[in-house]
Amino acid sequence: MPITDLVAPQAVIPALKVNNKKQALQEIAAKASESTGRSEREIFDVLMQREKLGSTAIGNGIAIPHGKLPKIEKIFGLFARLDRPIDLEALDGQPVDLIFVLLAPEQAGADHLKALARIARMLRDTDFANKLRDARDAEAIYAVLAMSAPTEIKNAS
């Protein structure tokens, strides 16, 4: 499954200017609201609720906030690159500059977990993350995300 089936080209934010976690999730919720049709507030609450269980930062400057959003049709992904890294209480202490948000419909169960695992594994690849950091604009980022798919499958098998 290519990663681009989770992210639409318009769900990429190339240079998000935020100062802290709350602001970042608010901005991301606003963007996600455009594509999913759910309210900004609702999406923000879902993401914050998961953050309360523990940080979703996975190290190396990457975070994957996620949660279950009722009444959406399929898993929705959004990628945001931060203008300036922020502290998200990662285990390795590194501030985060790449955020991948994943929202799953109720009862997505196994699909939700699989999608999360795929994204986590993909972003852990330092070369891949650096390509995302170096990409010039939204299109370039999307191209990197689209490119990732074949190599990812190769690695997994």
């Binding site: 269980l53 940080s55 169960g109 196994a110 699989k114 695992a117 986590a120 997994a156």
Partner: protein, 603 residues
Amino acid sequence: MAALDTVSLTILLGSALILAGVLSSLVALRFGAPLLLGFLAVGMLAGESGPGGIKFDDVRMTYLVGSIALALILFDGGLHTRYATIRSVLAPTVILATVGVVITAAVMAPMAHYLLKLDWTESMLVGAVVASTDAAAVFLLIHSRGLRLRPRVGATLEAESGTNDPFAIFLTIAIVEMLLTGHQSIPAIATSLLIKAAGGALVGYAGGKAIVFGLNRFGLAQGLHAVFVAIGAVIVFGLGEAIHASGFLAVYLAGLIVGNNPARAHSTIVTFLDAATWLAQIIMFMLLGLLAWPGNLPSIMLPALGIAFGLMLVARPVAVFLCLAPFRFSWREKVFVSWVGLRGAVGIFLASIPLLVKLPNAQIYFDVGFVVVLVSLLIQGWSIAVAARVLHVALPRSGASPRRVELDLPGQLTQELVGYALGAHNPYLHRRIIPSWAKLMMVVRKQKVLTAEEAGIVREGDHVYLLAPPERAPALDRFFVDTPTWAEPDPGALGDFILPGITTIGELAEAYDLVVAAADRSVTVSDYFARRIGNSARKSDVISLGAVSLVALHVVDGRVMSAGLRLAEPDAPVPLLPKATPAKRFWRRVMAVPKLRKRKSKT
């Protein structure tokens, strides 16, 4: 004129001796011997029975200098102790420092009674004199060896050694009074102890607050802050003793308060007091060495050695195991705490009190105390690093020591300048990330001072200076301290997301649609680990939970404090990890020691 000559000679001789003490540290370090032993040896060599031949038997002077030195050492100990550390070990520490001292003294008494043929009260005094662990010796030995102990063990040892001196001093003085004035009832002694402790706590609290207030309110000249604090500490001690409260407890508490409150010139104060503590150690041990008459020792050597080994191998372990029984310490940790019951200057200092008040048999106490301290420093001091490794209580070293410079900014307390030198492997050069609460202010490049704007891109060899809140300065190390190889062995092995131990299984099941037993829903992650693999979890232990796995991340005393959430392998079946059987866990424990050694030799 002759009088003036004597003064000059005393100054010359005294300073030469101290210099010899300082230089003896070089020799001591080379052989890995405890430094304090070097100071003691210099004193003994210079003394009456050594080649120096200096006649020195001024017990009063020794007591005076020893008290001040001890006050400074205890203050410095408090200064370096964080509330957070001490809070986590408060109960075991208090019990070790009070009940532990009494148990040690009580177990020692029969040995002294039979070995030294003293009566029971006198034997109790021997026990009291050698009962306290020495803050100076413990702090110094742990820190100078660069040992990183498990936080709970290190904190317990340091806090214990800081707080049991006042108690051993109470006990010693109470017994000395008993011997001087005839018998006092036990309740009377207990009440006077309580009053002394309460008074000391009060004086220490008020004194510490007053020092912080004075530091922040008076516009003292730059160099005077540290002097103000050091003298403040001695005043707190003197005041406490003058009103018959425990000055030693007071001065330790005052240090604790000064060290944990935002105050001006914190780093200068710490540096100054570290130096003052060194000087205090050297002078105190040398005076004690001078005071000791090794010529007298041979006759009492055998029984004294018996007392020393009895203390190390019987009394201290008994006290530690009894006192720590209600708390969650593993047996290895208890053995280590027992072994690091280092005796030091306090013991000899206490042993000199009977000399000062001219008790009968005073010389015996002194000689025994002296031998006990000597043996403890020699054997325990020398073997502390080995003991930590063998008993598995040392943490692996975390790279080179940080080269952080902290500069106070007069006019406010919330920010300071933090400086780093950037080597080739500096994480900042690779990632160029600064936490949001810090700000790059200036760069020193090729001996030129540049503003952040002038400097442009920071490069290797630069020194950077950042503005940051003082309490977060240590967190900057992660971004700016050179790390030759920053390689997590296997990214993802510890799980994808971190979960604090208090998360409930129900919350996880809800978030990820996991299938779990209804009975487990209200159980926390910590308890779930305990339920599945018992109370001896170790880092990287894995248990499955529905379609995901939990990996133990941060484990304290076998209890999982935080866990990693490992998501299922993409398009692969979830591995079913077998629960560790008791036999397997036993094998792991047996194998733990050689494994550690192997890891060490590799690095």
